[in-house]
Symmetry: C2
Subunit: 163 residues, 2 copies
Amino acid sequence: MSSRALPYRPHNHDACVSHALAEARAICQQQNARLTPTRERVLELIWQSHKPLGAYDVLAKLTSEGHNAAPPTVYRALDFLQQYGLVHRIASLNAFTGCTHAGKHHTGMFLICRACGNVLELMESSVTTAIENAASAEAFQPEAITLEVAGLCPGCQADQHHE
Amino acid sequence: MSSRALPYRPHNHDACVSHALAEARAICQQQNARLTPTRERVLELIWQSHKPLGAYDVLAKLTSEGHNAAPPTVYRALDFLQQYGLVHRIASLNAFTGCTHAGKHHTGMFLICRACGNVLELMESSVTTAIENAASAEAFQPEAITLEVAGLCPGCQADQHHE
DNA sequence: CAAGGTTTGCAACATTATAACATTTGCAGG
DNA sequence: CCTGCAAATGTTATAATGTTGCAAACCTTG
């Protein structure tokens, strides 16, 4: 099924990661933002994991590779990466995931599989529009949208059957 | 402007609270669930506040009225109330708010004012449908939707101007 | 009342996030 | 070059949020 979204198919994830890093470097250069080694490494760690990583997961990985890091190190890097739209925070998981639409203006919609933990980020203008319409019907001025859908991804639905 | 949603207008909030409590009692009775004094008091405290309350805010109020409570007391009550759809957890705030559509099956959409902290819960089937369509286009099976919109409520938009 | 499940009390602990302040680094202007 | 400022990082401590495990109290229901 080639129409299935990327994270749900086998693929060369290393290529994903290096593509994301290259893009991040480009975006930061364009905006005169400094993608320092720590920030870049945090971004890479987050991309390497196929599931969202908690801040303390990132911290543990940094520590295990000899980086002398404390919580603020990680949170600051994450703040930076979020600011430039390179990672997203998943509020319902207290975790972070690489942005798959970096650079584009968008409100992400996250499909979070409760079984395998994978997250797929969508950019659906129809959804955004519906939300904005509902908000403006109440004269509410939206600034940030958090939209996270928990459920079962295609692969894990299949697994349910032969258990 | 009488079309403006209730939380944004002055109103007798005590009446809201007692209405919500009465409804909660009815729902619990119907489902053979025990709305014990602690649970009821927690629900009441949450409703009395016009902003979402953190678990530790609830705990502090309980403590201040002589209730010998610890964190688990509050979290257990909140779990119960969530389970019966009487309160919602706002993931982006780590806080809880009374459900204004208790008893009805729904996925809430929350409009959260960043200035005054008020939260309006909407039930918009058009939004839900758009989300479900986007999910099923990816063969994803949704189970729970977290939808929280941060921004400015009508009142606080007005306040912006004469500052 | 006796048995069994549900609810609560309680202590300790785990996880997530921030504050405050010192130090280092990168870089623009003299 | 160097100096001085802003940005970034290091470091320590602490705050805020949430959980585990076990024992005691409490309803129900036979």
